[in-house]
Symmetry: C2
Amino acid sequence: MPTATFFRLPAEKQKRIFRAAVKEFGHSHYSEASINQIIKNAGIPRGSFYQYFEGKEDIFIYVLEEISREKLEVFAQAIEGAKEKGFFASVGAVMPAIIAWVEQRAEYNMIGLRMVEEDSKIARDWFEQMRGSAGAIRMMIENDQKNGWIRGDVTPELVTELASSLAFPLVRLYYQSEDKSEVVKKLVLYFDMLYRGLRNDAAPEGLS
Amino acid sequence: MPTATFFRLPAEKQKRIFRAAVKEFGHSHYSEASINQIIKNAGIPRGSFYQYFEGKEDIFIYVLEEISREKLEVFAQAIEGAKEKGFFASVGAVMPAIIAWVEQRAEYNMIGLRMVEEDSKIARDWFEQMRGSAGAIRMMIENDQKNGWIRGDVTPELVTELASSLAFPLVRLYYQSEDKSEVVKKLVLYFDMLYRGLRNDAAPEGLS
DNA sequence: CCCGGATATGACACTCTTGTCATATTTGTT
DNA sequence: AACAAATATGACAAGAGTGTCATATCCGGG
Protein backbone atom coordinates (compact mmCIF):
# COMPACT_ATOMS: atom_id res chain seq x y z
CA MET A 1 0.00 0.00 0.00
CA PRO A 2 1.23 3.49 -0.77
CA THR A 3 2.35 5.44 2.29
CA ALA A 4 0.27 7.97 4.17
CA THR A 5 2.62 10.57 2.74
CA PHE A 6 1.56 9.69 -0.77
CA PHE A 7 -2.12 10.13 0.03
CA ARG A 8 -1.41 13.52 1.60
CA LEU A 9 0.15 14.71 -1.64
CA PRO A 10 -1.73 17.27 -3.73
CA ALA A 11 -4.17 15.46 -6.00
CA GLU A 12 -2.39 16.76 -9.05
CA LYS A 13 0.87 15.15 -8.04
CA GLN A 14 -0.80 11.86 -7.20
CA LYS A 15 -2.45 11.83 -10.61
CA ARG A 16 0.82 12.65 -12.31
CA ILE A 17 2.51 9.71 -10.64
CA PHE A 18 -0.45 7.46 -11.36
CA ARG A 19 -0.38 8.38 -15.04
CA ALA A 20 3.35 7.87 -15.27
CA ALA A 21 2.94 4.40 -13.78
CA VAL A 22 0.04 3.54 -16.08
CA LYS A 23 2.17 4.56 -19.01
CA GLU A 24 5.11 2.46 -17.93
CA PHE A 25 3.13 -0.66 -16.99
CA GLY A 26 1.18 -0.38 -20.23
CA HIS A 27 4.39 -0.08 -22.15
CA SER A 28 6.36 -2.91 -20.53
CA HIS A 29 5.58 -6.12 -18.73
CA TYR A 30 5.63 -5.94 -14.97
CA SER A 31 9.00 -7.58 -14.70
CA GLU A 32 10.53 -5.22 -17.24
CA ALA A 33 8.83 -2.07 -16.11
CA SER A 34 11.33 0.26 -14.52
CA ILE A 35 10.91 2.55 -11.58
CA ASN A 36 13.51 4.74 -13.22
CA GLN A 37 11.17 5.27 -16.12
CA ILE A 38 8.22 6.02 -13.88
CA ILE A 39 10.00 8.68 -11.91
CA LYS A 40 11.32 10.20 -15.11
CA ASN A 41 7.81 10.33 -16.59
CA ALA A 42 6.37 11.71 -13.40
CA GLY A 43 9.17 14.19 -12.90
CA ILE A 44 9.83 13.22 -9.31
CA PRO A 45 13.22 12.41 -7.79
CA ARG A 46 14.20 8.86 -6.98
CA GLY A 47 14.11 9.40 -3.24
CA SER A 48 10.55 10.65 -3.36
CA PHE A 49 9.33 7.53 -5.05
CA TYR A 50 10.52 5.41 -2.16
CA GLN A 51 8.86 7.84 0.19
CA TYR A 52 5.53 7.05 -1.46
CA PHE A 53 5.79 3.38 -2.37
CA GLU A 54 7.57 0.35 -1.06
CA GLY A 55 8.65 -0.63 -4.53
CA LYS A 56 7.42 -1.76 -7.88
CA GLU A 57 4.81 -4.21 -6.66
CA ASP A 58 3.34 -1.62 -4.37
CA ILE A 59 2.71 0.94 -7.07
CA PHE A 60 1.56 -1.75 -9.49
CA ILE A 61 -1.15 -2.98 -7.18
CA TYR A 62 -2.13 0.61 -6.50
CA VAL A 63 -2.54 1.22 -10.23
CA LEU A 64 -4.62 -1.94 -10.66
CA GLU A 65 -6.90 -0.97 -7.84
CA GLU A 66 -7.41 2.54 -9.14
CA ILE A 67 -8.30 1.20 -12.56
CA SER A 68 -10.68 -1.35 -11.06
CA ARG A 69 -12.44 1.37 -9.18
CA GLU A 70 -12.87 3.48 -12.26
CA LYS A 71 -14.01 0.52 -14.31
CA LEU A 72 -16.62 -0.44 -11.80
CA GLU A 73 -17.87 3.12 -11.79
CA VAL A 74 -18.20 3.23 -15.56
CA PHE A 75 -19.86 -0.15 -15.93
CA ALA A 76 -22.17 0.04 -12.96
CA GLN A 77 -25.15 1.35 -14.88
CA ALA A 78 -24.47 -0.59 -18.06
CA ILE A 79 -24.53 -3.81 -16.05
CA GLU A 80 -27.53 -2.78 -14.03
CA GLY A 81 -29.61 -2.38 -17.13
CA ALA A 82 -28.85 -5.85 -18.50
CA LYS A 83 -29.13 -8.31 -15.70
CA GLU A 84 -32.00 -10.72 -16.11
CA LYS A 85 -31.84 -11.29 -19.83
CA GLY A 86 -29.44 -14.19 -19.79
CA PHE A 87 -25.75 -14.30 -20.58
CA PHE A 88 -25.64 -13.73 -24.31
CA ALA A 89 -28.30 -11.04 -24.37
CA SER A 90 -26.61 -9.26 -21.48
CA VAL A 91 -23.17 -9.35 -22.96
CA GLY A 92 -24.66 -8.13 -26.22
CA ALA A 93 -26.34 -5.28 -24.39
CA VAL A 94 -23.20 -4.23 -22.55
CA MET A 95 -21.04 -4.63 -25.64
CA PRO A 96 -21.21 -0.99 -26.77
CA ALA A 97 -20.02 0.11 -23.36
CA ILE A 98 -17.21 -2.43 -23.52
CA ILE A 99 -16.12 -1.25 -26.94
CA ALA A 100 -16.15 2.34 -25.76
CA TRP A 101 -14.01 1.35 -22.79
CA VAL A 102 -11.53 -0.43 -25.03
CA GLU A 103 -11.41 2.57 -27.31
CA GLN A 104 -11.06 5.22 -24.64
CA ARG A 105 -8.89 3.53 -22.06
CA ALA A 106 -6.26 2.01 -24.26
CA GLU A 107 -3.53 2.48 -21.69
CA TYR A 108 -5.51 0.80 -18.94
CA ASN A 109 -6.27 -2.14 -21.16
CA MET A 110 -2.68 -2.49 -22.23
CA ILE A 111 -1.84 -3.21 -18.64
CA GLY A 112 -4.45 -5.95 -18.49
CA LEU A 113 -3.20 -7.36 -21.74
CA ARG A 114 0.35 -7.45 -20.51
CA MET A 115 -0.74 -9.17 -17.35
CA VAL A 116 -2.47 -11.97 -19.21
CA GLU A 117 0.50 -12.22 -21.46
CA GLU A 118 3.12 -12.39 -18.84
CA ASP A 119 1.35 -14.80 -16.55
CA SER A 120 3.41 -13.84 -13.53
CA LYS A 121 2.52 -14.75 -9.98
CA ILE A 122 1.33 -11.27 -9.25
CA ALA A 123 -0.95 -11.36 -12.32
CA ARG A 124 -2.36 -14.78 -11.47
CA ASP A 125 -3.14 -13.66 -7.94
CA TRP A 126 -4.94 -10.64 -9.25
CA PHE A 127 -7.06 -12.55 -11.73
CA GLU A 128 -7.82 -15.14 -9.11
CA GLN A 129 -9.23 -12.39 -6.92
CA MET A 130 -11.22 -11.03 -9.89
CA ARG A 131 -12.68 -14.43 -10.63
CA GLY A 132 -14.13 -14.53 -7.17
CA SER A 133 -15.93 -11.25 -7.71
CA ALA A 134 -17.39 -12.38 -11.04
CA GLY A 135 -20.16 -14.21 -9.24
CA ALA A 136 -22.85 -12.29 -11.09
CA ILE A 137 -21.76 -13.70 -14.43
CA ARG A 138 -21.57 -17.17 -13.00
CA MET A 139 -25.12 -16.95 -11.75
CA MET A 140 -26.33 -15.67 -15.07
CA ILE A 141 -24.88 -18.66 -16.85
CA GLU A 142 -26.21 -21.14 -14.32
CA ASN A 143 -29.60 -19.59 -14.78
CA ASP A 144 -29.36 -19.91 -18.54
CA GLN A 145 -28.56 -23.56 -18.10
CA LYS A 146 -31.58 -24.09 -15.90
CA ASN A 147 -33.68 -22.37 -18.52
CA GLY A 148 -32.18 -24.60 -21.15
CA TRP A 149 -30.59 -21.80 -23.14
CA ILE A 150 -27.04 -23.04 -22.63
CA ARG A 151 -25.96 -26.65 -22.96
CA GLY A 152 -25.68 -28.39 -19.65
CA ASP A 153 -22.37 -30.16 -20.17
CA VAL A 154 -20.22 -27.10 -19.66
CA THR A 155 -19.47 -25.35 -16.41
CA PRO A 156 -19.91 -21.60 -15.96
CA GLU A 157 -16.16 -21.38 -15.46
CA LEU A 158 -15.61 -22.93 -18.83
CA VAL A 159 -17.85 -20.38 -20.47
CA THR A 160 -16.03 -17.44 -18.94
CA GLU A 161 -12.68 -19.01 -19.76
CA LEU A 162 -13.70 -19.45 -23.34
CA ALA A 163 -14.99 -15.92 -23.55
CA SER A 164 -11.82 -14.42 -22.18
CA SER A 165 -9.58 -16.65 -24.27
CA LEU A 166 -11.29 -15.16 -27.27
CA ALA A 167 -11.59 -11.64 -25.95
CA PHE A 168 -7.98 -10.93 -25.09
CA PRO A 169 -6.55 -11.61 -28.54
CA LEU A 170 -9.32 -9.47 -29.99
CA VAL A 171 -8.48 -6.56 -27.77
CA ARG A 172 -4.86 -6.90 -28.72
CA LEU A 173 -5.82 -6.99 -32.36
CA TYR A 174 -7.97 -3.94 -31.86
CA TYR A 175 -5.03 -1.89 -30.69
CA GLN A 176 -2.84 -3.12 -33.50
CA SER A 177 -5.37 -2.61 -36.26
CA GLU A 178 -5.75 0.36 -38.52
CA ASP A 179 -9.31 -0.52 -39.36
CA LYS A 180 -11.10 -0.84 -36.04
CA SER A 181 -14.43 -1.64 -37.68
CA GLU A 182 -12.91 -4.81 -39.12
CA VAL A 183 -12.12 -5.95 -35.61
CA VAL A 184 -15.61 -5.17 -34.40
CA LYS A 185 -16.95 -7.24 -37.27
CA LYS A 186 -14.70 -10.06 -36.18
CA LEU A 187 -15.94 -9.67 -32.64
CA VAL A 188 -19.51 -10.14 -33.83
CA LEU A 189 -18.50 -13.32 -35.64
CA TYR A 190 -16.67 -14.66 -32.59
CA PHE A 191 -19.64 -13.89 -30.47
CA ASP A 192 -22.04 -15.59 -32.86
CA MET A 193 -19.78 -18.59 -33.01
CA LEU A 194 -19.59 -18.81 -29.27
CA TYR A 195 -23.35 -18.59 -29.11
CA ARG A 196 -23.83 -21.40 -31.58
CA GLY A 197 -21.25 -23.48 -29.81
CA LEU A 198 -22.79 -23.06 -26.40
CA ARG A 199 -26.52 -22.93 -26.98
CA ASN A 200 -28.53 -25.93 -26.09
CA ASP A 201 -29.00 -28.02 -29.18
CA ALA A 202 -30.56 -30.88 -27.33
CA ALA A 203 -33.97 -29.27 -27.38
CA PRO A 204 -36.50 -31.07 -29.64
CA GLU A 205 -34.85 -33.92 -31.50
CA GLY A 206 -31.54 -35.66 -31.02
CA LEU A 207 -28.29 -35.12 -32.89
CA SER A 208 -24.51 -35.40 -32.57
CA MET B 1 22.83 -16.95 -38.54
CA PRO B 2 25.32 -18.71 -36.31
CA THR B 3 28.90 -18.49 -37.54
CA ALA B 4 30.71 -21.14 -39.55
CA THR B 5 32.77 -21.75 -36.43
CA PHE B 6 29.66 -22.80 -34.54
CA PHE B 7 28.69 -25.35 -37.15
CA ARG B 8 32.19 -26.78 -37.10
CA LEU B 9 31.90 -27.43 -33.38
CA PRO B 10 31.55 -31.03 -32.20
CA ALA B 11 27.87 -32.02 -32.30
CA GLU B 12 27.84 -32.57 -28.56
CA LYS B 13 28.87 -28.99 -27.89
CA GLN B 14 26.35 -27.61 -30.36
CA LYS B 15 23.60 -29.60 -28.67
CA ARG B 16 24.72 -28.44 -25.26
CA ILE B 17 24.47 -24.82 -26.31
CA PHE B 18 21.16 -25.43 -28.04
CA ARG B 19 19.72 -27.01 -24.93
CA ALA B 20 20.98 -24.23 -22.72
CA ALA B 21 19.30 -21.70 -25.00
CA VAL B 22 16.04 -23.65 -25.11
CA LYS B 23 16.06 -23.73 -21.36
CA GLU B 24 16.63 -20.02 -21.04
CA PHE B 25 14.14 -18.93 -23.71
CA GLY B 26 11.58 -21.28 -22.25
CA HIS B 27 12.18 -19.84 -18.83
CA SER B 28 12.13 -16.12 -19.68
CA HIS B 29 10.63 -13.94 -22.35
CA TYR B 30 12.92 -13.05 -25.18
CA SER B 31 13.55 -9.58 -23.86
CA GLU B 32 14.40 -10.86 -20.41
CA ALA B 33 16.36 -13.89 -21.45
CA SER B 34 20.02 -13.41 -20.63
CA ILE B 35 23.03 -14.49 -22.58
CA ASN B 36 24.81 -14.72 -19.27
CA GLN B 37 22.42 -17.43 -18.23
CA ILE B 38 22.80 -19.33 -21.47
CA ILE B 39 26.56 -19.44 -21.29
CA LYS B 40 26.39 -20.47 -17.67
CA ASN B 41 23.99 -23.31 -18.50
CA ALA B 42 26.06 -24.37 -21.45
CA GLY B 43 29.34 -24.07 -19.59
CA ILE B 44 31.05 -21.99 -22.23
CA PRO B 45 32.93 -18.76 -21.68
CA ARG B 46 31.45 -15.43 -22.66
CA GLY B 47 33.91 -14.85 -25.47
CA SER B 48 33.03 -18.12 -27.10
CA PHE B 49 29.39 -17.24 -27.29
CA TYR B 50 30.16 -14.21 -29.39
CA GLN B 51 32.37 -16.36 -31.54
CA TYR B 52 29.34 -18.47 -32.39
CA PHE B 53 26.46 -16.01 -32.47
CA GLU B 54 26.01 -12.37 -33.23
CA GLY B 55 23.88 -11.89 -30.18
CA LYS B 56 20.62 -12.84 -28.58
CA GLU B 57 18.44 -12.56 -31.65
CA ASP B 58 20.81 -14.74 -33.62
CA ILE B 59 20.70 -17.65 -31.23
CA PHE B 60 16.97 -17.20 -30.69
CA ILE B 61 16.20 -17.55 -34.39
CA TYR B 62 18.54 -20.51 -34.55
CA VAL B 63 16.63 -22.20 -31.74
CA LEU B 64 13.28 -21.51 -33.41
CA GLU B 65 14.49 -22.96 -36.67
CA GLU B 66 15.87 -26.08 -35.06
CA ILE B 67 12.59 -26.67 -33.26
CA SER B 68 10.62 -26.09 -36.44
CA ARG B 69 12.73 -28.65 -38.24
CA GLU B 70 12.19 -31.22 -35.54
CA LYS B 71 8.49 -30.49 -35.36
CA LEU B 72 8.05 -30.91 -39.07
CA GLU B 73 9.90 -34.21 -38.87
CA VAL B 74 7.66 -35.51 -36.12
CA PHE B 75 4.39 -34.39 -37.66
CA ALA B 76 5.15 -35.27 -41.25
CA GLN B 77 3.56 -38.69 -41.13
CA ALA B 78 0.75 -37.75 -38.78
CA ILE B 79 -0.30 -35.04 -41.21
CA GLU B 80 0.16 -37.24 -44.23
CA GLY B 81 -2.32 -39.73 -42.89
CA ALA B 82 -5.07 -37.18 -42.29
CA LYS B 83 -5.24 -34.93 -45.28
CA GLU B 84 -8.42 -35.33 -47.27
CA LYS B 85 -10.87 -35.80 -44.47
CA GLY B 86 -11.67 -32.17 -43.87
CA PHE B 87 -10.49 -29.82 -41.16
CA PHE B 88 -12.22 -31.14 -38.08
CA ALA B 89 -11.67 -34.80 -38.84
CA SER B 90 -8.03 -34.12 -39.63
CA VAL B 91 -7.35 -32.13 -36.53
CA GLY B 92 -9.10 -34.86 -34.56
CA ALA B 93 -6.91 -37.46 -36.18
CA VAL B 94 -3.68 -35.59 -35.50
CA MET B 95 -4.73 -34.68 -31.97
CA PRO B 96 -3.01 -37.61 -30.24
CA ALA B 97 0.25 -36.65 -31.91
CA ILE B 98 -0.26 -33.05 -30.84
CA ILE B 99 -0.94 -34.05 -27.25
CA ALA B 100 2.15 -36.24 -27.25
CA TRP B 101 4.20 -33.32 -28.57
CA VAL B 102 2.85 -31.02 -25.89
CA GLU B 103 3.61 -33.62 -23.26
CA GLN B 104 7.10 -34.51 -24.42
CA ARG B 105 8.46 -31.20 -25.62
CA ALA B 106 7.38 -28.98 -22.80
CA GLU B 107 10.46 -26.80 -23.10
CA TYR B 108 9.98 -26.21 -26.80
CA ASN B 109 6.37 -25.27 -26.28
CA MET B 110 7.19 -22.93 -23.46
CA ILE B 111 9.16 -20.89 -25.95
CA GLY B 112 6.18 -20.69 -28.27
CA LEU B 113 3.95 -19.75 -25.39
CA ARG B 114 6.28 -16.98 -24.31
CA MET B 115 6.41 -15.67 -27.84
CA VAL B 116 2.63 -15.36 -28.09
CA GLU B 117 2.60 -13.82 -24.67
CA GLU B 118 5.20 -11.24 -25.28
CA ASP B 119 4.04 -10.18 -28.71
CA SER B 120 7.39 -8.66 -29.63
CA LYS B 121 8.35 -7.68 -33.15
CA ILE B 122 10.58 -10.69 -33.49
CA ALA B 123 7.69 -12.97 -32.45
CA ARG B 124 5.22 -11.33 -34.79
CA ASP B 125 7.61 -11.69 -37.70
CA TRP B 126 8.08 -15.32 -36.94
CA PHE B 127 4.39 -16.09 -36.72
CA GLU B 128 3.78 -14.13 -39.90
CA GLN B 129 6.23 -16.37 -41.65
CA MET B 130 4.52 -19.43 -40.16
CA ARG B 131 1.12 -18.28 -41.32
CA GLY B 132 2.39 -18.24 -44.86
CA SER B 133 3.48 -21.84 -44.63
CA ALA B 134 0.14 -22.95 -43.21
CA GLY B 135 -1.33 -23.09 -46.67
CA ALA B 136 -2.36 -26.72 -46.29
CA ILE B 137 -4.71 -25.90 -43.45
CA ARG B 138 -6.16 -23.00 -45.37
CA MET B 139 -6.92 -25.21 -48.33
CA MET B 140 -8.52 -27.80 -46.12
CA ILE B 141 -10.90 -25.25 -44.69
CA GLU B 142 -11.73 -23.75 -48.06
CA ASN B 143 -12.52 -27.22 -49.25
CA ASP B 144 -14.77 -27.86 -46.30
CA GLN B 145 -16.62 -24.68 -47.13
CA LYS B 146 -17.09 -25.77 -50.73
CA ASN B 147 -18.42 -29.08 -49.44
CA GLY B 148 -20.75 -27.23 -47.15
CA TRP B 149 -19.27 -28.62 -43.94
CA ILE B 150 -18.17 -25.24 -42.61
CA ARG B 151 -20.30 -22.13 -42.70
CA GLY B 152 -19.43 -19.83 -45.55
CA ASP B 153 -19.42 -16.52 -43.71
CA VAL B 154 -16.06 -17.04 -42.05
CA THR B 155 -12.65 -16.87 -43.68
CA PRO B 156 -10.07 -19.62 -43.27
CA GLU B 157 -7.89 -17.12 -41.44
CA LEU B 158 -10.63 -16.57 -38.94
CA VAL B 159 -10.90 -20.28 -38.28
CA THR B 160 -7.19 -20.65 -37.66
CA GLU B 161 -7.16 -17.55 -35.51
CA LEU B 162 -9.99 -18.90 -33.44
CA ALA B 163 -8.32 -22.24 -33.09
CA SER B 164 -5.05 -20.79 -31.92
CA SER B 165 -6.73 -18.29 -29.61
CA LEU B 166 -8.23 -21.27 -27.87
CA ALA B 167 -5.24 -23.55 -28.14
CA PHE B 168 -2.60 -21.39 -26.52
CA PRO B 169 -4.38 -20.89 -23.22
CA LEU B 170 -5.07 -24.61 -23.13
CA VAL B 171 -1.43 -25.45 -23.60
CA ARG B 172 -0.53 -23.05 -20.87
CA LEU B 173 -3.13 -24.61 -18.62
CA TYR B 174 -1.79 -28.05 -19.46
CA TYR B 175 1.63 -27.16 -18.14
CA GLN B 176 0.21 -25.59 -15.01
CA SER B 177 -2.21 -28.37 -14.20
CA GLU B 178 -1.70 -31.27 -11.90
CA ASP B 179 -4.41 -33.30 -13.54
CA LYS B 180 -3.55 -33.40 -17.22
CA SER B 181 -6.58 -35.50 -18.08
CA GLU B 182 -8.82 -32.68 -16.92
CA VAL B 183 -7.23 -30.43 -19.47
CA VAL B 184 -7.63 -32.97 -22.22
CA LYS B 185 -11.29 -33.21 -21.32
CA LYS B 186 -11.52 -29.46 -21.61
CA LEU B 187 -9.79 -29.62 -24.94
CA VAL B 188 -12.45 -32.00 -26.20
CA LEU B 189 -15.15 -29.62 -25.06
CA TYR B 190 -13.47 -26.65 -26.71
CA PHE B 191 -13.11 -28.62 -29.86
CA ASP B 192 -16.71 -29.70 -29.83
CA MET B 193 -17.81 -26.16 -29.23
CA LEU B 194 -15.70 -24.88 -32.07
CA TYR B 195 -17.19 -27.50 -34.29
CA ARG B 196 -20.73 -26.57 -33.41
CA GLY B 197 -19.93 -22.93 -33.83
CA LEU B 198 -18.39 -23.34 -37.25
CA ARG B 199 -20.35 -26.11 -38.92
CA ASN B 200 -22.81 -25.18 -41.54
CA ASP B 201 -26.22 -25.04 -39.97
CA ALA B 202 -27.84 -24.34 -43.26
CA ALA B 203 -27.31 -27.91 -44.41
CA PRO B 204 -30.43 -29.88 -45.25
CA GLU B 205 -30.63 -32.57 -42.63
CA GLY B 206 -28.68 -33.24 -39.48
CA LEU B 207 -25.18 -34.55 -39.51
CA SER B 208 -22.95 -35.47 -36.69
C1' DC C 1 10.61 34.11 14.79
C1' DC C 2 11.93 29.53 15.78
C1' DC C 3 11.56 24.51 16.35
C1' DG C 4 10.39 19.79 15.19
C1' DG C 5 8.16 16.67 12.41
C1' DA C 6 7.10 15.86 7.60
C1' DT C 7 9.02 15.99 2.93
C1' DA C 8 12.26 16.24 -0.75
C1' DT C 9 16.47 15.16 -2.95
C1' DG C 10 20.26 13.06 -5.42
C1' DA C 11 24.76 10.89 -4.57
C1' DC C 12 26.26 6.31 -3.53
C1' DA C 13 27.15 1.48 -3.44
C1' DC C 14 25.60 -2.69 -5.61
C1' DT C 15 24.03 -5.92 -8.97
C1' DC C 16 23.28 -7.55 -13.44
C1' DT C 17 23.94 -7.49 -18.26
C1' DT C 18 26.18 -6.61 -22.72
C1' DG C 19 29.74 -6.52 -26.41
C1' DT C 20 34.79 -6.14 -27.24
C1' DC C 21 39.49 -7.25 -27.41
C1' DA C 22 44.18 -8.48 -26.34
C1' DT C 23 46.07 -12.57 -25.22
C1' DA C 24 46.41 -17.63 -24.95
C1' DT C 25 45.92 -22.20 -26.94
C1' DT C 26 44.97 -25.62 -30.37
C1' DT C 27 45.17 -27.61 -34.95
C1' DG C 28 46.70 -28.69 -39.38
C1' DT C 29 50.41 -28.29 -42.74
C1' DT C 30 54.74 -28.14 -44.63
C1' DA D 1 59.65 -28.34 -35.47
C1' DA D 2 57.64 -24.15 -36.98
C1' DC D 3 54.15 -21.21 -38.52
C1' DA D 4 49.61 -19.46 -39.64
C1' DA D 5 44.91 -19.82 -39.23
C1' DA D 6 41.28 -21.03 -36.24
C1' DT D 7 39.55 -21.09 -31.53
C1' DA D 8 39.15 -20.13 -26.73
C1' DT D 9 39.08 -17.16 -22.85
C1' DG D 10 38.08 -13.85 -19.26
C1' DA D 11 39.10 -9.05 -17.92
C1' DC D 12 37.11 -4.77 -18.93
C1' DA D 13 34.34 -0.63 -19.89
C1' DA D 14 29.87 0.92 -20.26
C1' DG D 15 24.92 1.08 -19.39
C1' DA D 16 20.81 0.47 -16.78
C1' DG D 17 18.46 -0.55 -12.65
C1' DT D 18 17.71 -0.81 -7.51
C1' DG D 19 17.26 0.62 -2.61
C1' DT D 20 19.32 3.59 1.04
C1' DC D 21 20.67 7.47 3.54
C1' DA D 22 22.64 11.82 5.07
C1' DT D 23 21.38 16.24 4.17
C1' DA D 24 18.44 20.06 2.84
C1' DT D 25 13.96 22.23 2.78
C1' DC D 26 9.24 23.19 4.09
C1' DC D 27 5.47 24.29 7.14
C1' DG D 28 2.29 24.65 11.08
C1' DG D 29 2.08 25.76 15.93
C1' DG D 30 3.84 28.07 19.93
